[in-house]
Symmetry: C2
DNA sequence: ATGAGGGCATAAGCTGTCTTTATGAGCGGT
DNA sequence: ACCGCTCATAAAGACAGCTTATGCCCTCAT
């Protein structure tokens, strides 16, 4: 209730003022791994005083001692070990971001050109790219995102070497292999009536209720319409998974989304899964390529990483 | 193969030079949500030119156009939508970090004092704290991490209101309720012989092989020793889950860890799960409190969030 | 004992980034 | 035609982080 506390929570955002920047977190991880400030500094290509000062400023910012300094090295405190583990999650997310972002740059010299549907590009590809980078560090990948039609088009016009789609059907002219299974699920904000519901929803009830949906033509919408016999009733139609999630979290109504998209939200209880019965909302995720042109080289490397 | 490219990948670290900082990512999320640079700027408490310049510098850094500007607002480009979703993962990890870090500060006025074992504090508590903050924004939580004995000690001396343990036994003097189930799993680096193994490991084989383990006395080690009859043979003993994971990832040998701890690593294929048969490596995660003092108020709120 | 080496802290100066203030320009509805 | 919204540009100030240059502490080997 103090003025400061009030403002801190009222501002709400300002995360970047309470969380050390990525450079600081990387430094902390290096200190944890190497057991020495100077060693960590060397690894990151900065000087020892810079590392010392930076760790100290993180400790000031967090209000917690992170490392025990001694004349023969530095070890994490108990709190420091916790903070370091939480920091690792941020850095891993940043690594995935980096792998994805590098692939988004249009480069003519890419040895592997991938085109993928949105959901796959958002939730699965960064991980695959990281794994690929670990195994084949010199493979330059470029990524283009689009719907199933776009994927087919770019593959057939030789603008891409490997594609990923999430629809019900495989575009003609393409061979495919199933690489994972996905389910659409119904979710609501925790405050919604359905959030407390134990008895599964029936198809009729789902079809009769206005839902927050992706636009017609999206892979997600295709599957839902097919499952309900083309009857899905939109409360609003939004053009991205993100917008649908945001609307559902804010309590606008129930939404239908891939379980890939809402893992985090379910874990944090920002959204609640509503049980459904008698409706087939499963779909396959597939890798695709032009008929007959079985993937070779880098494309084959990536494909082998996607096996679940 | 160019000089610049060479250096970028050779440095390897330097993540913070290729990924925008948290402030920039938050700004991008706000732009995506509000559809306007100026609106996002207002929400974050900065001026419109600052937002404009910052978004522009992110686009320069990533080499990709993120937003389509128009005289009546800004919308994300396709690439921008992808980048924004990847950015959201980073920001969510940062929110968990923040929730945890705030709880680590020692504050006398905390209305809820929690003491938890390491694994739970590392992997589950931040999410619970975020959910608690969402539902009860004014609950100040403080967190202390330690082993089972520490948890019991602090609860019984009234230094904590609610505890979480992961061992096989409940310390005497405490009541408990099971809040989740956990399994220890055997993992190796992808290059290890066991990584390609299909036939499950037997207890005898596991007991005969030197493993990367937590130190004796840790919850993880207790469960493993019990399951193998006290026979676990350490290749090395390390004092943190983190260190065990790092050793396993680097290929030092097979490790035994909670599946909570290696979710990310398995998804990114940095580690591979080795099937095991005939060994009971399950354990319960429990909330605990002094016998008779059933949790009330904030403690009860938190407890109700942990139900799986 | 004593000197060498590794480890950390402090001080001073520099540089770059991000910010604000001030202003201009495009588009749309009234 | 004007007002309101949007975004862009330019100039100047504030701040954070880095480097260089030291000094102290501890340990180990000579």
């Amino acid at each position: 209730m103090s003025g400061v506390e009030e403002r801190e929570t009222a501002v709400g955002g300002g995360l970047s003022h309470r969380v050390p920047d990525l450079g600081g977190l990387e430094l902390l991880l290096a200190v944890a791994r190497l057991g020495s400030l100077g060693g960590a500094a060397r690894e990151l290509g900065i000087t020892q005083p810079a590392a010392s000062s930076r760790i100290r400023s993180m400790e000031r910012q967090l209000g917690v001692a992170l490392v025990d300094r001694s004349p023969r090295g530095s070890r994490l405190t108990d709190a420091g070990a916790l903070v370091t583990d939480w920091a690792r999650r941020i850095v891993e997310a940043a690594e995935a971001f980096d792998a994805g972002a590098q692939a988004l740059r249009v480069r003519r010299d890419s040895r592997l050109r991938v085109v993928a549907s949105m959901t796959i590009a958002e939730y699965l590809l960064p991980g695959w790219l990281l794994a690929l980078r670990a195994g084949r560090p010199d493979t330059a990948v470029s990524l283009h995102a689009g719907n199933s039609a776009t994927v087919a088009e770019r593959l057939l016009s030789d603008e891409a070497d490997l594609g990923f789609v999430e629809g019900l059907t495989v575009p003609s002219g393409l061979d495919s292999v199933v690489i994972a299974h996905d389910h659409l699920i119904v979710v609501t904000a925790p405050g919604h009536v359905w959030a407390r519901r134990r008895r599964p929803l029936e198809a009729a009830e789902l079809a009769a209720t206005p839902l927050i949906l992706r636009e017609k033509g999206s892979g997600t919408r295709q599957v839902l319409d097919a499952a309900l016999g083309g009857l899905a009733r939109p409360l609003i139609e939004l053009s991205s998974t993100t917008a649908v999630k945001a609307a559902a979290v804010s309590g606008a109504g129930p939404a239908v989304l891939s379980e890939l998209a809402v893992g985090e939200e379910l874990a944090l209880r920002r959204l609640v899964r509503v049980p459904v019965a008698g409706v087939s909302l499963a779909r396959d995720l597939r890798a695709v390529w032009p008929t007959g042109h079985r993937p070779v080289g880098p494309a084959r490397d990536l494909l082998s990483l996607t096996r679940d």
